[in-house]
């Protein structure tokens, strides 16, 4: 009875689990809840096994009571005999499967050589061992035929082409569905606090090591002053981040940031303009104060 109660209890715990999981922002993280869930499942299974063992024991007790003391011993003896027989049969089956000779017959297969007291038996190589060996050889031949003779499976460079094509297709489908397509031509200037907050977190993670945590410039240029190397329009900044300026040490972020992240961080950079952080790096590039000015300098440079 008690075990049944445990089972019910754990079922309730299990049932409640998804409810917990659905609730975001709780004390426990989703992962922790998962672990609790797994633990509960394992615990339930253990409890279930214990319960089954107890029930079995109970049946045995009941049977003994019903059969009386004599009946119990006969049954026991019969069972023991049957068990010994089964055990012997199983041993023989195992020995056959493993190609083992019974220990008692060992003397007949003892080889005559004696190496510092070490003797050898003339057992055959186990049948299952030979089977394993032949299967692996067959695998080897098949593998070479498939990849190099019939060429029905792709080798690495072809595999790569397939992988890239599949990925491009999946990506296009996803972007079309999610409406996240932004590029340097369509990016819009934004002062939305949510956008700037997202941009700031990307900036702290990715840009701060070179440009300083406040954009004051370290290895990379100061991003808060009026001087720009590659244009100060939101589109220019987007482009600089996306493709980088490898020759001068600015990495390409195209493959590390999503278009939205690039747009966010570009907007964040626009937002910190003129903040005059401490220890600014000296100006680099041309002075550009507003959007119109950018266009003019860009033209002049050409």
């Amino acid at each position: 009875m008690r075990s049944l109660r445990y089972i019910f209890l754990s079922m309730i715990v299990l049932g409640v689990q998804p409810v917990f999981a659905a609730d975001e922002g709780q004390l426990l993280s989703g992962d922790a809840k998962n672990y609790i869930g797994y633990g509960a499942i394992i615990l339930t299974l253990i409890v279930l096994i214990i319960a089954m063992l107890i029930v079995l024991k109970a049946f045995k007790v009941v049977a003994r009571l019903l059969l009386g003391p004599e009946g119990a011993t006969t049954v026991k003896a019969e069972k023991a005999a049957a068990k010994a027989e089964r055990k012997a049969a199983r041993a023989i089956r195992w020995q056959k499967l493993l190609s083992l000779k019974p220990l008692s017959e060992e003397g007949s297969i003892l080889l005559e050589d004696d190496y510092d007291g070490i003797k050898e038996l003339d057992n055959p190589t186990p049948a299952w061992f030979m089977a394993l060996f032949y299967v692996t050889i067959a695998f080897g031949i098949g593998y070479l035929l498939i990849y190099h003779v019939f060429k029905t499976a792709p080798l690495q460079y072809e595999e790569y082409k397939i992988e890239m094509a599949d990925a491009a297709k999946a990506k296009a489908q996803y972007l079309a569905k999610a409406g996240e397509k932004v590029d340097e031509n369509t990016v819009k200037l934004s002062t939305d606090p949510a956008v700037l907050a997202d941009g700031k977190s990307v900036f702290t993670q990715r840009c701060a090591p070179c440009h300083g945590d406040h954009g004051q410039g370290v290895v990379g240029p100061n991003l808060t002053d009026d001087y720009w190397l590659h244009g100060n329009k939101i589109n220019d900044i987007f482009k600089t981040i996306e493709y980088g300026v490898p020759a001068k040490g600015m990495p390409t972020w195209e493959s590390q940031l999503t278009p939205k992240q690039i747009a966010d961080v570009a907007n964040y950079i626009k937002s910190i303009h003129g903040t005059n952080p401490a220890n600014p790096k000296e100006p680099q590039g041309t002075k550009m104060t507003d959007e119109a000015g950018t266009a003019k300098t860009a033209m002049l440079q050409k």
């Binding site: 080889l111 050898e120 186990p126 060996f133 692996t136 890239m164 990925a167």
Partner: protein, 708 residues
Amino acid sequence: MQPEKFYYDNKIVRNFGIATVIWGIIGMLVGLIIAIQLYQPAMNMGSQYTSFGRVRPLHTNAVIFAFVGNAIFMGIYYSLQRLMKARMFSDALSKIHFWGWQLIIVSAVITLPLGMTTSHEYAELEWPIDILITIVWVVFGINMFGTIIKRRERHIYVAVWFYIATFVTIAVLHIVNSIEIPVTFTKSYMVFAGVQDALVQWWYGHNAVAFFLTTPYLGMMYYFLPKMANRPIYSYKLSILHFWALIFIYIWAGPHHLLYTTLPGWAQSLGVVFSIMLIAPSWGGMINGLLTLRGAWDKVRDDVTLKFMVVGLTAYGMATFEGPMLSLKQVNAIGHFTDWIIAHVHVGALGWNGFLTFAILYWLIPRIYKTELYSKKLASFHFWIGVLGILFYAIPMYWSGFTQGLMWKEFTPEGMLKYPNFLETTMRILPMHVMRSIGGAMYLSGVLVMAYNLYKTAVQGKLVPDEAAEAMPLERLNPHATTERWHKRLERKPILFLVVSLIVILIGTFVELMPTLTISSNIPTIASVKPYTPLELQGRDLYIREGCSNCHSQTIRPFRSETERYGEYSKAGEFVYDHPFLWGSKRTGPDLQREGGKYGDSWHYNHLMDPRLMSPGSIMPEYSWLLHQKLDTSTTAAKIRAMQKLGVPYPAGYDKIANRDLEKQAQGIADNLAKDHIRTKSNKEIIAVIAYLQRLGTDIKANKTANN
């Protein structure tokens, strides 16, 4: 005919035994230190001589060649004398072998922290030591065959077959993999370059595992296990089959270390299929060992040496199943370059080599000291702490390997890498690295307990330096009077046995190596790939000195997850001037093949000075000494000439003007750094390293722009 009286040399066995324990402790201690360095960079101790890249080879060399090596010689010198019913051929050769081997190890302990390395894994020692190894190995061979020749036992037992195969194959492997051209007394260049060098190295590396860590141990298992259990070997037929199958097939499997690289596809596939075919021959040894214990399992319960043997054999069985699975390219794509491989080799090293060694020590030391083991309790403690240590080591490493391997490959639905920042994947596995070092410490503490136990045993007994024995001398055999089967006949012809073994291992060697080394179409050349400039060449040698390739690979596999992260996948033609190749085998840090131009010079300067400045949380050691040390340009001319000899097309007489170009390029980098307010002289080592890093992988990029 009268039985002859003779004496077994136990002193040499004892000496190798002591060396085994001492070097074992040192090797494992170094391993523990570098394990801690992987989450606590301060453990590099700010010194160039103790930084990870230089000390990691010390760990691998110490445990493989010092710990396992001495254990092999201990086991062979003990068992060979008894199996041949003869004293070792020459006491003088035994002594030369012993002290020569210790000299090799000591020179490794000195040169590796000094950064003298060929960068070939498990073959890092420079050319003078390579020659010394060859000499000592030949001494060992003469001593072993001398003993075999003067034996008083007609047939040679299976253990000795394995010793013979070990001797001959290691000789071939060592010589071929050490073909290098000396530049100075402490520096050489590998004769082969790029793909060819990689193939030679991993043909060697894989078979060092086979013929140094496996076959001698199988031989020792065949002697010590039946002695310990007092049971006959289960199957003589299985011995024959698995011995020949093992040595024939093993030699082919090397290319599985180079899957998805620029090694020709056919060679990769051969590596895969022979690895799979290796399962049964490897297991043959385990089965023959475990079934030998049939009828003796009650002894295993009480006898700690047998416990060590059983766990050792089981670890062997697991590792030799896992190895072939890792050779399947689909599995390899995830496991390679991760901690999974570290877990795999340590199951083999700690479980199989370690535990067998401990079992043999516990069995043999009391015997040669004519006493009982000092404490069975301590030995039992050693066993359990050792098993726990292996579990605490291996499980976190598997976990870490899966985690990082999958993180590297994960994409977001937008088609971006989910973890574009490599460091993020590193940070995730640091807790597992902490666990691993705890497991390693447990294992090491067991070894310390063993050392104490064995010391006490030796003290309470007395060494029998020359153990008396008797045997009948061999009578001449009438070859026509015997009805032996062919293999039995081979077993009484040791030289023929040696020759046949040699032929068997050379078949795979030739089929795999020859086409790649001789047929040029296997390595298509690329016109835009040019030799390194003198400064880059010097920088590359510093990269080798600092052991960067221990943590950074230089080979980008054709996977979307790698081309997105690192750039265009590697081409065979890019490596034609790489003497030696530097592909690496582990990515503790990111791949560097396309590092050139990814960051500015000043980024590299700051990053090498203190990696955590540019990548907070990085576990890379700092390389501040590169900032102060002057680049040694006196070697430039010799290096250029050596490269010319190897076929690198520098113009004739370039060695005389190379330093002029070097200084010009160095000045350019120094000027570039000055623009970012980094004031440094152009003659510092860091300038050369930056030059090399900025060159990496750019030949192909240049090619691409030219086409566009």
